[in-house]
Symmetry: C2
Subunit: 123 residues, 2 copies
């Protein structure tokens, strides 16, 4: 991942409305939500929301697909993976000894099939 793209993603998420939109779309994976419904959820005018959605799209965090009159937006899960990878990349590069505990703390957050896992960074 390029720094430039990461900066776009960070800037996109550094805004309360947009961060909430992104989280909302994560909750609604993989169905997504139409632009109007997102605006209603956030209690924002449709044109303001349109701008926010464009910024998130340009950042590669969400994607749009026309469905008759509505435009459905979905979170791009790859974006989370890529951005997360970018965050830990630096320490991975030369020094896995520092990075390993980060991953270790993160792993129990997503258990393959157990449920007692919300102790570390999940909340």
């Amino acid at each position: 991942m390029e720094s430039e793209q990461a900066i776009l993603a960070f800037a996109a998420l550094a805004q309360p409305t947009r961060l909430n939109v992104f989280r909302l779309l994560m909750e609604h994976e993989p169905d997504g939500l139409p632009a109007g419904e997102i605006a209603r959820h956030m209690a924002a005018p449709h044109n303001t929301m349109s701008t926010h959605l464009a910024i998130l799209t340009r950042a590669g965090l969400i994607e749009a697909e026309r469905q008759s009159r509505s435009i459905i937006y979905r979170a791009k899960l790859d974006a989370v993976r890529t951005l997360t990878g970018f965050l830990v990349k630096d320490c991975c590069g030369g020094r896995p000894e520092i990075c390993a505990p980060l991953i270790a703390d993160l792993a129990p957050c997503c258990p393959p099939n157990k449920s007692a896992a919300k102790e570390t960074v999940c909340d």
Copy 2:
């Protein structure tokens, strides 16, 4: 992690100089670097850098410690872990089935004791 804190962190990293400073300090873990040397590295005036360092500090991404005349800055590894956790938290909450592959792709990036691991998101 609170949204507010996450937004501070995202905003702090959404700026080329600050992102580079953060990466620089990650490379220099755990020794850190004095403010002046950071400014020299980035070819920025000391007062501009001071502002950037203050923003990163307020965001909880780095920390400062006085050492005689110099002030040493260090990356806070917890910050990466917390921010990463925040990013994947939403899908973890209700739907580990979506989140699991994200972690799976990330894990080989930091091998406990092997070296062939730079295939996925490491670069």
